[in-house]
């Protein structure tokens, strides 16, 4: 596939991620922070987000598996996940966390478990999308092209 085609694919794919609500304006902020002096910034932040999220999801699974659930602890984990997903623009994960927190407040175990499933689902979806996006970018750069950030005016 030639560079022009790859770039067009990248633009369409990125736009779709925004349209479908997977990503919001904060992701654009991150893209703005990337330049020649920091060409891997987005990849680095996204990787940190993946590590952080997987750790938190494990902690949440464990915490909700207890005989007597410590809802304060659960809420603290969800709060962290909400924060990091918000910081990278992973909108659907963030929204799932917001819903989750209200059930923590209500101390509703069953609802919390459902929320955890929802958050996990959203997380793996966005992880998949972001990995695809990053792969596309790497292919463009490997082929000698540049990622057409300026095409994202919407």
């Amino acid at each position: 596939m030639e560079v022009g085609q790859m770039q067009r694919t990248w633009v369409e794919y990125t736009k779709s991620l925004f349209m479908e609500g997977f990503l919001d304006g904060q992701f654009t902020q991150l893209q703005l922070l990337q330049d020649e002096s920091n060409p891997d910034f987005v990849v680095e932040v996204v990787s940190l987000f993946f590590e952080d999220s997987e750790r938190l999801l494990n902690d949440l699974t464990r915490a909700l598996d207890q005989q007597s659930v410590d809802f304060k602890r659960v809420d603290a984990h969800v709060h962290q996940l909400k924060g990091s997903s918000s910081s990278i623009g992973a909108q659907r994960v963030k929204n799932a966390c917001i819903a989750f927190r209200s059930f923590c407040e209500q101390q509703n175990s069953e609802a919390c478990l459902k929320c955890l499933q929802q958050v996990k689902q959203e997380y793996y979806l966005v992880k998949n999308k972001l990995e695809t996006l990053i792969r596309l970018e790497q292919q463009i750069v490997a082929a000698g092209g540049s990622v057409p950030m300026e095409e994202l005016s919407f």
Binding site: L30, L33, E44, V45, L48, H79, Q80, S84, G89
Partner: protein, 247 residues
């Protein structure tokens, strides 16, 4: 260039690098630390990022147990930006500790929080926080801080000149120049890069080339003009001397 580390009679002859705004960023989230660090660096700030209030106090040398070891670099912190919700010491508690310290209370502290709660914001501002940023932090938030820091630096240096003139009580022409500047410091700051004609040209040493990040602003000539003035507590050389002689 041996003069780089020398201070003569309290005059700061350090290279322009020293005039970079040094921000201490405090956040327990690894993702957020990465982002805030980049936001600040791209806005031409020097950044030290720590993961807790305790570490922040250690860095400042404010905790009782141990002071951080000071490298060659000057530890002067110009701004502290901290997350509100952190395990252990919250950003609010850190804010209080800083404002209770005679050495550090002058440093502006900015609080970041994902929760946009009026009561929380009010409480922080009452405790002396300079500003409150709702997360996620954006480039425009950091730019606003940067502009504030530049204007503040300008005001502080300007006050130094004013104070010195009042003490010396001579050279009314210089006093008038100071008044001209203080009447519209920001308009001068944001005007074209040529300096105000009311400044006597001889008092302006040639400034270093303007930082690209601050394109509308001239490399503030007032900073070199103020070199002969005795520094305020903000950039007191005694703190530097104290830190460099420890360890």
């Amino acid at each position: 260039m041996h003069w780089r580390s020398e201070k003569i009679d309290g005059f700061d002859l350090s290279p322009p690098d020293d005039e970079q705004v040094h921000v201490l960023a405090v956040d327990d989230s690894l993702v957020d630390r990465k982002v805030i660090e980049r936001l600040l660096k791209i806005s031409c700030c020097k950044v030290t990022a720590v993961d807790s209030g305790i570490r922040a106090l250690q860095f400042l040398g404010l905790d009782e147990e141990k002071s951080s070891s000071v490298g060659f670099d000057d530890l002067k912190v110009d701004l502290i930006i901290t997350d509100y919700c952190m395990p252990g010491m919250t950003g609010y508690e850190l804010l209080k500790k800083i404002k209770e310290s005679s050495t550090f209370r002058e440093i502006p502290v900015v609080i970041m929080s994902s929760e946009n709660v009026m009561a929380r914001i009010d409480r922080c501002l009452e405790e002396g926080a300079e500003d409150f940023i709702v997360k996620p932090v954006k480039l425009s938030d950091v730019k606003r801080l940067r502009d504030y820091m530049t204007a503040r630096e300008f005001r502080v240096k300007n006050q130094q000149i004013g104070n010195n003139n009042n003490i010396k009580n001579n050279n009314k022409r210089r006093l008038r120049e100071t008044c001209d500047l203080s009447s519209s410091p920001l308009s001068m700051l944001f005007s074209s890069s040529s300096p105000s004609p009311s400044l006597s040209p001889s008092s302006l040493s040639s400034p270093s080339s303007p930082s690209p990040c601050l394109s509308p602003l001239p490399s503030p000539p007032i900073l070199s003009y103020s070199a002969p003035c005795s520094p305020t507590s903000l950039d007191s050389p005694t703190r530097r001397l104290k830190m460099s002689s420890s360890d």
